[in-house]
């Protein structure tokens, strides 16, 4: 079969020439989007939720892997399972709710019934049904996903069985998940209250933005001015800010202020130095964490960190802490599912501080995210340009990127594929290369 797209026309990856370019087609082509859904989202590991979202026996929550509806269910014995959320009978979506607790799930259409382990428990009026022998030979249970795994409460699944193990897929990025989870001996949890928004642009705009330090002072000056003002006032009724206390984004900051790490399979981190100070809700644990994990790891737990686990999970720890799940809907429409992620057992004061900062910065009803999403949409409009199909947005830092890690990563024994040490103005874009190389790997079968 003739393949419509050739990789060389989409991603221009020539490290020996100092070139990395991405074609606008990746953002604007509906046919390419369909291939992405099949091969990137339905063809490999994707994040599907936290184990704490189904904490007790028979708890469940629903979601999607690519376009396929799924259920994550803890069965009666306490084991987590993942199924396709569709009755084998007529394909009807079995569970309509976002989350709940039930030991039995009855299909609303013809009452086929399943338990929380996905096993078919009843086919209505089966004996009277005059079924042929072939029917009995079919499996009437809910379809399981091909691969399902957990790393420290983070759940991942793949509809394609031909994938590396989850440990291989996550690789060194597991150490960055550890920095999130180790904030409490009880682990982390989602603060109640989920916020969902859409934007009319390609999913890769969000993918990149999370690890794009370059945009911060350009896109968010209105927010930064308010941070400055609040810092001067120190009034008790104004929402306080952590990011205002850091200087990794200030153009006049000197020395190494942060950098980026990129990993195999598309995972990346960009980070900035944040002082261990009362400007962060974590400060109440500063001594405990140093004793438990050592000062170096403790300091990393305070640093600004934006982590992407390719292709759909992002954990932003900067002004408060956010877990984002990217759900592409169309080449020019994306749904973002977002939560405040927090260490269990933190003090009421720290939790409230975390929540207030979160709302102001991360919500689509806040003062920062709207300026991002509007830029994504303006990018989507501009992607129509024809005469110069190659974007110029993946070139910063190419000459600063080195194979392997650096002294900062060594503090937590981090062994990335590539790293960049940055001053405040470098604002590396070379880490995006990790996204597109992983993208190309997943798309191999679809591209010539």
């Amino acid at each position: 079969m003739t393949k419509r797209f050739a990789l060389r026309d989409l991603v221009d990856d020539r490290p020996q020439d100092g070139v990395f370019r991405v074609n606008r087609t990746l953002f604007r082509d509906p046919a390419l989007f369909d291939l992405e859904m099949k091969h990137v989202f339905e063809g490999g590991w994707v994040f599907i939720g936290l184990s704490t979202q189904a904490e007790n026996p028979n708890d469940y929550f629903t979601g999607f892997i690519g376009r396929v509806p799924i259920i994550v269910s803890r069965d009666g014995k306490g084991e987590l399972r993942c199924f396709v959320n569709a009755c084998p009978h007529k394909g009807v979506r079995l569970i309509q709710k976002l989350c709940g607790n039930a030991s039995r799930h009855v299909c609303p259409y013809h009452s086929w019934t399943f338990d929380s382990a996905g096993t078919n428990r009843n086919i209505k009026w089966k004996k009277a049904g005059c079924y042929g022998a072939g029917f009995d030979e079919e499996n009437h249970d809910l379809a399981t996903v091909a691969r399902f795994g957990e790393y420290r409460g983070f759940l991942f699944a793949s509809l394609n069985p031909d994938v590396p193990t989850l440990d291989e897929h996550l690789g060194e990025a597991r150490k960055l998940i550890d920095l999130v989870v180790d904030k409490s001996p009880e682990g982390i949890e989602l603060v109640p209250g989920r916020v969902t928004f859409t934007y009319a642009a390609n999913w890769k705009m969000q993918l990149e933005n999370c690890s794009d330090q370059y945009h911060f002072t350009s896109t968010h000056p209105s927010y930064i001015r308010i941070l400055d003002q609040r810092a001067k006032e120190q009034a008790s009724e104004v929402v306080q800010s952590s990011i205002g206390a850091a200087d990794f984004w200030q153009e006049d900051a000197s020395g190494v202020t942060g950098g980026t790490f990129s990993f195999d399979h598309g995972h990346v981190l960009n980070w900035g130095v944040m002082p261990v100070s009362a400007a962060l809700p974590e400060y109440e644990h500063a001594e405990t964490w140093a004793a438990l994990h050592g000062a170096a790891k403790r300091n990393w737990m305070f640093n600004m960190r934006n982590l992407t686990i390719f292709p759909n999970l992002q954990i932003a720890e900067n002004a408060s802490s956010q877990m984002r799940v990217i759900r592409p809907i169309a080449h020019n429409l994306t749904e973002m599912q977002t939560w405040c992620i927090a260490p269990r057992g933190e003090s009421a004061k720290a939790r409230s501080f975390r929540i207030r900062q979160y709302e102001d910065f991360f919500n689509p009803t806040g003062m920062a995210t709207p300026d991002d999403t509007v830029c994504y949409e303006e990018a989507q409009t501009g992607m129509a340009e024809q005469q110069r199909p190659w974007l110029q947005g993946h070139a910063r830092g190419l000459m600063a990127s080195v194979p392997g890690g650096n002294d900062f990563g060594d503090m937590i024994d981090l062994k990335p594929a590539h790293s960049v040490l940055a001053d405040a103005q470098l604002c590396d874009e070379s880490l995006f290369g990790s996204y597109y190389r992983a993208w190309a790997t997943r798309m191999t079968q679809a591209l010539s």
């Binding site: 209250g193 916020v195 859409t198 929402v239 409230s352 709302e359 689509p364």
Partner: protein, 175 residues
């Protein structure tokens, strides 16, 4: 109730008609972009709160332990929002959406002589001029008004947004 009245106080009871007029005036200020007049309707210590949804059917109700879409205690924070909108440095506010509030089902309930609670339903039609897209946000308001120096001010406004999947952005003038 009447026997504790301070003889000098001006007590203007708010009935259904006055309550609806008060809400219509707030809507007018937002619809016409008169944000100074809008802020002036609020007490300095006001609560401005739009809860998030926990799941399909329940909203968050403890803002200290649960997430809200917007939660501010103190008018000072609303002033920040207006400052950002007017700053010229927010691309989301560069081409201002046009909005029209429709408020109905107004029910006023006197709490005491200087406080009244008003329940209402709203639809806010937002035309995002930048993209020519229109969207209607809808839900319920719960206002609490307090008499301050003979003037009724909003001491508390809870916005219960029913269609909470936000297309791109939503700011204080759109709810």
């Amino acid at each position: 109730m009447g026997d504790t009245h301070d003889a000098g106080a001006v007590v203007t009871a708010i009935g259904q008609v006055e309550a609806a007029a008060f809400l219509a005036r707030e809507a007018l200020y937002l619809d016409s972009g008169d944000y100074d007049a809008w802020l002036d309707l609020y007490t300095v210590d006001c609560l401005f709160w739009m809860p998030a949804w926990r799941d399909d059917g329940t909203q968050t109700d403890d803002p200290e332990r649960e997430l809200s879409l917007i939660y501010y205690h103190g008018r000072r924070n609303l002033e920040d929002r207006i400052q950002r909108i007017r700053s010229g440095f927010s691309v989301a506010s560069a081409v201002m959406p046009r909005v029209a509030h429709m408020i109905g089902n107004v029910l006023a309930e006197t709490i005491d002589e200087s406080r009244v609670r008003i329940d209402s339903s709203f639809i806010v039609n937002v035309n995002d001029v930048r993209t020519h897209r229109s969207h209607a946000y809808f839900g319920r308001y719960e206002h609490e008004l307090r008499l301050e120096d003979d003037t009724w001010k909003i001491s508390r406004k809870i916005i219960r947004l029913m269609n909470d999947v936000v297309p791109t952005m939503l700011d204080v003038y759109g709810i």
